[in-house]
Amino acid sequence: MNVMWLFTLLLLLAGSGCSEPAIMQRPDVSTVTGPPNWTALIRSEHLPNVELTTHEGLAVRFYDDLVKGQVVAINFMFTTCGNTCPLITEYLAVAQKALSERMGHRITLLSISLEPEHDTPERLREYRQVRGVGPGWIFLTGRRDDIEFLRRRLGVYDLDPVIDTDPSQHAGIVILGNEPQGRWRAISALSHPIRIRQAMERIILPPSQWPTGETVVNEVPSQDNEAVETADLSILPPVN
């Protein structure tokens, strides 16, 4: 089934101008030796194998059980986060569903609590149910130290230590990773769900299959946020 979806997608993409042509020269880099194994490097530097607990109460290891060999979208949240988290959860759900419809289940969502003492598996399960979260989306809690360590390894932190203590500042980023290929990006989880889905596609597909040009641009309806003021020349310093 997944294969069929992929075929359909490839056919769709063929019209967008960036599918891989039959005739092409591929430079040979097989003789290269020495550079570090990128995927292993990312694993050792950024994907610690901390123990977490799923919303179902299962003990899991972050790397071994959740990320290894997977394409994942990771965000940090907490169930009492009233401002942005519900919106982000909604956006990610829409993006995941759209991706699934286009490509089959290819991406696992991991939402990790920033308030693990409060966010017990039961609370996460309830949060998940209330929002109608579907399969392929795991909510996680664990020891605060472990989660803080993981958060920093994943680059979700603020250089200002005061701002960094505010968990709501870390809830807006979703990290996209294709672990086997060592490809990792981040995007604001407050971007339009279609933009999130497009970024997910770019982490799954090789660049030769990325949709390009107007196909991508116009998928989200056009919107303006133009704001114009009457010019105030009175406060300018004298012209040289």
Partner: protein, 554 residues
């Protein structure tokens, strides 16, 4: 007590153990971008010279068909590529170029192993493309980047932006107008001054990758090069026009006395292989200073004047350069244009993507004397520079050679590129102003409260109608804001007159931090209509969608 990154790494590796932080030890973590230092390299043992760091000027090729290209086109060099650009008619006097993006085994320094980089024509920096005012160019870029790359930095997909260039939207390297391995795309550059005004003649541009999501990685991997420009004043010849230091004298090659210098910081692992942190979105800072792809090189100079085109090609680092002798720089250009008059400055601050053209006169230095280009601006993360330090880091050594001064017909005239349509003429026509507010929000950066969306227009200026844009940013971060297509005048910095190096025109300007909370600029779009982007040129911020669009209305 500090905990080293190595400790963290060890924990990361042993993290499967029962107790991660025994004894209640709460780790005071270093930042994820706080990488272990690169290996030691001896400074000033690599010579920067033509063929090594000073790239060749790319040769034009026979005209090729852009009218009815088949899907798979055979290029003039026999290579084939699937062609993504629409067919187009070009003027009869158009020059044609063909550039292949490909892997190259590059030596940053003899004490480090070679690294596999990506370069235009396999060169670091890319080959220099020289534009001549009045002669259009069509440049076909062919993507020969490897699809199975072992290094992991960058993606083999491209959009080419000629930074500072005056070109139509479809030739501007829009981030979604990408082409992949095995494909090519044609870029047409009209190479004429906007509105035919002499003051709009260009001097120093550059070209680099601009692909969605991964510009930072692709530029870091090597995809950038110089795109200088000659015109009736800045002729590229010491015998004609303004007679600025150049690589020709009355048509005969000399020098080189006009040298582009691109400054880039890089980071290496213990074994000397290039490192990039795809999880750091603050702005990548490396601890090795490269000039034209070489770590702390030296350059032999004769006892005469030189023109150096400084380009900050770093992802996030801001520099402030001094000369070790205390000698000033004579600045003759900022960003794309020459200045109206030369400006003598003790130091040059240069943010990512900015250019400053300077003349340094070595005439009065003794044979074998050494002059160092020193960066005294310390920066340890992507937020903003920490401030000036002393003595700073010498990143380039000029080694002066000559018992007697060398012949030097070049000049630095008191008038360079006169401004005939500046604030004095344009301000009375200004009707509207716009606020462009850059801020940190929810773990990333927004422009006017929003992340980049490819189908959102944030400004619709009318062609030919000058406007004031007010660039606002807080004190926590600096952002080098780059506006595509048109250069602008800086009217004020926090209500005051801009410093001397900002009194010409700019296409990139540093805002926020300790630089300025409010910057007012005067901008006018003369000719092209359509959609262009403006964005933060801290490229990690740009990749996190600190970007917006304007659409010029007819």
């Amino acid at each position: 007590m500090g905990i080293s990154r190595r400790d963290l790494l060890r924990w990361g590796i042993v993290i499967g153990g029962a107790a991660m932080f025994p004894g209640g030890l709460r780790p005071r973590l270093a930042h994820a971008d706080d990488l272990p230092p690169s290996p030691h390299t001896d400074p000033f043992i690599v010579e920067l010279k033509p063929g090594r760091g000073i790239p060749p000027v790319v040769e034009k090729v026979a005209p090729f068909n852009t009218q009815a290209d088949p899907g798979i086109c055979v290029n003039v060099d026999g290579s084939t590529a699937y062609h993504v650009s629409p067919p187009r008619a070009v003027p009869a006097n158009t020059e044609f170029f063909l550039i292949h993006e490909k892997s190259v085994s590059h030596s940053f320094h003899p004490q480090l192993p070679n690294n596999i980089l990506w370069g235009y024509d396999g060169l670091i920096p890319g080959p220099t493309i020289v534009a001549k005012s009045g002669t259009p160019q069509l440049v076909r870029f062919v993507n020969d980047l490897p699809v199975n790359d072992p290094v992991g930095i960058g993606e083999p997909i491209s959009a080419i932006h000629r930074h500072g260039g005056f070109q139509a939207p479809q030739d501007d390297g829009y981030p979604l107008d990408t082409f992949c391995t095995g494909q090519s795309r044609d870029y047409f550059f009209p190479n004429r001054p906007d509105a035919g005004l002499l003051q709009n003649e260009h001097s120093t541009n550059w070209y680099h990758d601009h692909s969605i999501d991964i510009t930072g990685q692709n530029v870091y991997r090597g995809l950038s090069g110089f795109y200088p420009y000659t015109n009736s004043l800045d002729t590229g010849d010491e015998g004609t026009g303004l007679q600025l230091p150049a690589n020709f004298y009355n048509g005969t090659p000399v020098g080189p006395f006009d040298i582009g210098l691109v400054f880039q910081d890089r980071q290496f692992n213990r074994e000397g292989y290039l490192i990039y942190n795809t999880f750091d979105h603050n702005g990548f800072i490396g601890d090795k200073f490269c000039v034209n792809g070489l770590i702390q090189p030296y350059l032999k100079v004769k006892r005469r004047k030189y023109r150096f085109r400084f380009l900050n090609g770093s992802n996030a680092r801001v520099y402030q350069f001094f000369l070790s002798t205390g000698q000033p720089f004579v600045a003759i250009g900022t960003d794309t244009h020459l200045l109206p008059q030369p400006v003598t400055v003790q130091s040059v601050r240069i943010a990512p993507a900015e250019r400053v053209d300077v003349v340094i006169d070595f005439t009065n230095h003794q044979n074998h004397s050494e002059v160092f280009l020193v960066n005294r601006l310390q920066q340890t993360d992507g937020r903003k520079p920490n401030g000036l330090v002393s003595p700073g880091t010498s990143i380039l050594k000029f080694l002066v050679e000559g018992v007697v001064p060398a012949p030097d017909p070049s000049q630095v005239p008191a008038t360079l590129l006169p401004v005939t349509e500046g604030p004095a003429q344009l301000l009375p026509q200004v009707r509207v102003q716009r606020r462009i507010k850059a801020e940190r929000s929810n773990g990333a950066w927004v422009i006017n409260g929003q992340f980049f969306d490819e189908n959102r227009i944030s400004a619709r200026p009318r062609r030919g109608e000058p406007e004031i844009w007010i660039l606002e940013s807080g004190g926590g971060w600096v952002h080098p804001v780059h506006i595509h297509l048109s250069e602008f005048f800086v009217l004020s910095r926090d209500g005051k007159q801009p410093p001397p190096l900002e009194r010409g025109r700019k296409d990139t300007i540093l805002i926020g931090g300790d630089v300025a909370r409010e910057t007012r600029i005067l901008i006018k779009f003369e000719e092209f209509t359509g959609r262009y982007v403006f964005h933060c040129h801290n490229i990690e911020h740009e990749d996190m969608r600190m970007m917006a669009q304007f659409e010029i209305q007819p």
